[in-house]
Amino acid sequence: MTLALDVTGLTYSFGAKRALDDVSFSVERASFTALLGPNGAGKTTFFSLATRLFDAPAETIRIFGRDIRRHPGEALAQLGVVFQEPTLDLDLSVVQNLRYAAALHGLRPAAAAQRIERELTRFGLFERRNVKARSLNGGHRRRIEIARALMHEPALLLLDEPTVGLDAPTRRQLVDLVHRLCREDGIAVLWTTHLVDELDGDGDRVVLLQDGGVKARGTVAEVLAAAGAVDLHSLFTPAAVAVS
C-alpha cells in the first residue's frame, strides 16, 4: 500500500551547515506520527521541504507516491498544512479566511461553503463564523487553522508545533482533536513537536530527530527501548542520546 508520506535518504544543507542528514521515515495512512526533537533538530527545515517552501532533492519526499520535487502540484493537493506561525488574516472574518484557503485549492464556492459549515460545526466554531479572526483566542485561532487545512480534504495533514503558545488544557484539546481526525476521517498526521506530553499512548508512532538525523523511530515503546529511556521525558537527556 502506498504510504502517506515517504521520506528516503533526505539530506539538506544551508551553505556549509548540514540541517538534515540522511533522514528516512514514513507515515502510514490514518496514523498519527510525531516528529519529535529538541529545538534546532531540523524539524522546521524538514517541514519547509515537505511543504515545498524550498526544494527538496528529487526522490527524497513522496506524498502518496508523488515526488514533491517532480510533481509538486499533485503532492501539494494531498497535503493540508498548519504552520507554526499564525497565518490567519486577522482583519478578515473566519469564513473569509476559510473561503480564501478553499479557493487557493480551486474549490468552487458551493463546495467550499459546504465544507466550511461541516468543519466549523465539527470544531464547535460555526456560531463564530462571521467574527473577525482577531477577536478569537489563541486556541480557537489554531482550530480555525486546522479547519482551514482540511478545506480541500487532504489525506495527509502536517502540523508544525501547532501548540506553541497555548495553555495546557487547550493543547490537550488540540491533540485530542487531531487524533479524532485520524480515527474518524482516516487522515494521516505528522505532528512536529518538542513536547513529549503531546503523544497519546501506544497507537502513536514517533520519529525522534536530533542534530538533523533520525535517532529512533517506531511506536512509543519501541523508541523508548531503542533509546534506552524509561519514559519519553528522559529521551532528550544526554545519557539517552549516548545509548541510542
Binding site: T51, L53, F83, D89, D91, A103, L104, P109
Partner: protein, 262 residues
C-alpha cells in the same frame, strides 16, 4: 476553472484588505492631491507648458502633472503591495499562498494582478477628485486610459514583487523609498516635460529618457487623451514581463527568499 477561482480569491482578498483599511485609500489620495492642489498651484504661474502632443492647446501645469501623479499613485501602490508581501512573508500568510497546488509562477502573477486591480481603483478615485477640482480630461480618456493603467500597473507591480523577493526584512524597506521610489519619480517626465528638463540639465534629461517610469507616464498621458504612444507602450510592455520574470525566479522554491529566511 480552479485557476480562475484562485485568481478571483487572491484579487478578492487584496480588495477586501484594501477596503477594510480606509486610511490606505485616504493616504493614497492625499499624496498626489497635495502635489496637484498645492505644488501645481504654485507652479501654474511659474511654468507654462507649450503645446506638445497629446495636448492640442496650451494647458495649465495642473493638467500636465495629472498623468505623472497617476503614475505616482501606481508607483506607491506597487511599493505598498510589495511591502505587504514582505510583511506577509514575515507573518507567514505568504506560506499559505505558496502551498497551493497551482504553479508558483501563476500564484505570483495572481498576486501581481491583485495589486494592479487595487491600483486602478486608487487611480480612478484620484482622477475623480481631480475632475471635481476642475482638472479634467476628455470623457473618453477615462476609458482609454484603462489599458494603460493595467500595463503600467504590471510594470510597477512586477518591480515591487521583484524587490519584495530580494528584501530580506521589513526594516530594509526604507531604503527602497530612497533608492527606488524617489529616483524613479523625480528623474522622470512625471513633473516636467523632457524639453524643460533639458533646458536645466542635459544629464538629468538623459537619465529621464532611460527611466522606464517616464514611459509609463507618457503612455498614460497619451491614453488619457485617447491617443497611443507606440514607443512608450512598447517599453512598458517589454520591461514589465522582464521584471515579472525576475520576480518569479525570486519566488521559486530552489532560489527562493524563504530559504534565506530559515
Amino acid at each position: 476553472m480552479s485557476w480562475l477561482i484562485c485568481l478571483k480569491a487572491i484579487v478578492g482578498r487584496e480588495l477586501l484588505r484594501f477596503l477594510n483599511q480606509p486610511s490606505r485609500l485616504v493616504s493614497a489620495l492625499v499624496r498626489p492631491l497635495i502635489w496637484l492642489l498645492v505644488f501645481a498651484a504654485g507652479f501654474r504661474a511659474a511654468l507654462g507648458v507649450a503645446i506638445a502632443p497629446p495636448y492640442e492647446t496650451y494647458i495649465p501645469y495642473s493638467i500636465y502633472v495629472i498623468p505623472g501623479l497617476v503614475g505616482m499613485v501606481q508607483l506607491f501602490n506597487a511599493m505598498q503591495s510589495s511591502l505587504s508581501m514582505v510583511y506577509d512573508r514575515e507573518m507567514g500568510s505568504m506560506r499559505l499562498l505558496l502551498t497551493s497546488p497551482l504553479p508558483r509562477w501563476y500564484l505570483v502573477s495572481c498576486k501581481l494582478m491583485a495589486g494592479i486591480v487595487v491600483s486602478v481603483v486608487q487611480v480612478y478615485a484620484f482622477l475623480g477628485v481631480a475632475w471635481l477640482c476642475g482638472d479634467d480630461a476628455p470623457t473618453f480618456g477615462y476609458v482609454t486610459v484603462l489599458p494603460a493603467l493595467v500595463a503600467n500597473g504590471l510594470m510597477l507591480g512586477a518591480l515591487g514583487l521583484l524587490l519584495s523577493s530580494l528584501i530580506r526584512q521589513l526594516e530594509n524597506f526604507a531604503g527602497v523609498m530612497n533608492f527606488v521610489v524617489f529616483p524613479l519619480f523625480f528623474l522622470s517626465t512625471a513633473l516636467y516635460p523632457l524639453w524643460k528638463i533639458r533646458e536645466g540639465s542635459e544629464l538629468i534629461a538623459d537619465i529621464c529618457t532611460i527611466n522606464p517610469f517616464s514611459y509609463g507616464v507618457e503612455m498614460i498621458r497619451f491614453a488619457l487623451y485617447g491617443q497611443w504612444n507606440g514607443l512608450a507602450t512598447l517599453v512598458v510592455l517589454a520591461v514589465g514581463p522582464l521584471l515579472l520574470g525576475g520576480a518569479i525566479i525570486g519566488y521559486s522554491p530552489s532560489r527562493g527568499l524563504i530559504r534565506r529566511k530559515v
